[in-house]
Symmetry: C2
Subunit: 227 residues, 2 copies
DNA sequence: ATTATAATGTGAAGAAAATCACAAAATATG
DNA sequence: CATATTTTGTGATTTTCTTCACATTATAAT
């Protein structure tokens, strides 16, 4: 059945990403070893949390010796299947799609956008490293490159249709930038990234923060009044 | 102290975004009322969860009558401070920055990018609805438009520097697209959006899914063998 | 008007996640 | 080599989040 797959990235996984980013930076700085509290300080979590997370993902260090950065990064590569290449297709070459197609960091992490698609024949003439095809060639390309992951960057109205097509063609994971909750079979992973929501949540927390600060000031005021 | 502020969007808040997207769609379809289970079905959560979330955010409906969509959306507007306009600056007019500056949906949600900045004098000549300034005019613009929220879309290497500048100029909330964990004072909200991580987590869950499916098939096999 | 029904709202229970706390192990020191 | 120190890894505890279950209330039916 086609349904909403409630998909939320686990917080522990998000923290693993944090740790990795941090490790990459430390490595570049010439550091070779870290302790749980090093990572903790750098990422804003507790050292217990770091160790619990490592334990969850089967990462072990040396008692008293901490963790070898190279070894850690190697383990993480495995967790994220970075050892093999991942062929990806991108649908929708609007502003965002174009930007994503040029995003060099995907390649650096073994995620290769092998082709992009757009219904607009004008867009199909964009000259770039990655070819822009008409959607009717999707099956051919997906089969040829054994693509299992897709990026949706089409307008809201066509997102669900594109998603249905992709699922039919054997795509197993989708990252969706259209502000439209996609319905897909439960075995297909759909990560809905909503840029507006991300920005709005910043506004939400800023306001909350400001309110909390106000409250704290009032409390301070009351405290002062006692004396 | 300048430190990593561990900032994670609460899952309940993310669900509120889901509900809202869903409500907007239902409203467009002419629906006026919803029940907790309507939203639950549409968003892939349980109806209890919907009611608990509403309760957390102080949203109340009518027993037996469900919720008026208009009223719900009104309450949500208040939660996200959509009643007032939010002036935003964007720093970095590379591929992603340019795409974000053209993203119409921000405006539709009362989030106005009033100015963008780039050190590249060539970029400053981009002609678009939103002006591209040299970074040395940041103070002027931020003050004039009372900007409190910023979008960082600069390369990794300059992200922290830009962040420091923004904080100094009174910015209270940042959404950061550079793949670099930003250090900021704890009272400043920083939402790090890492596109690679988002895509990689899809790959992670796809592989997990495939592994789980394999396991299920093995289990089925064993079950069959009993007969 | 009375009864039946269907939905909310929320304490209680259960599950999951984070923190605590300490034994075990590895390294350093004398 | 023995002892002290430091850090890991993980059960136990606490906290947070989710689900359950049902009293309460609004609407519908008779």
């Amino acid at each position: 059945m086609k349904k909403i797959t409630k998909y939320v990235i686990k917080n522990s996984l998000k923290r693993i990403f944090l740790y990795r980013a941090c490790l990459v930076r430390l490595k570049m700085m010439g550091v070779e070893k870290v302790f749980s509290y090093t990572l903790a300080n750098e990422t804003g979590v507790t050292s217990d949390q770091v160790r619990k997370d490592f334990s969850e993902f089967g990462i072990r260090g040396n008692k008293r010796g901490g963790y070898e950065i190279d070894e850690l990064l190697g383990k993480m590569e495995k967790i994220f299947h970075r050892n093999k290449d991942h062929n990806i297709v991108l649908i929708g070459m609007g502003n965002l799609g174009l930007a994503l197609s040029k995003y060099q960091r995907f390649v650096q992490r073994n995620m290769n956008i092998v082709a992009t698609f757009d219904i607009d024949p004008f867009k199909q003439k964009i000259r770039s490293d990655i070819p822009v095809y008409s959607p009717d060639r999707m099956k051919e390309i997906i089969d040829r490159f054994r693509v299992r992951i897709a990026i949706i960057a089409v307008p809201e109205v066509s997102a669900q249709e594109v998603c249905d097509d992709l699922v039919r063609l054997g795509i197993k994971g989708i990252i969706n930038f259209a502000p439209q909750l996609l319905k897909a079979p439960p075995e297909v992973i759909v990560n809905n990234v909503n840029l507006c929501d991300e920005l709005e949540s910043v506004i939400y927390y800023v306001h909350k923060q400001i309110k909390a600060d106000g409250q704290k000031n009032i409390e301070l005021l009351y405290r002062d009044m006692k004396y």
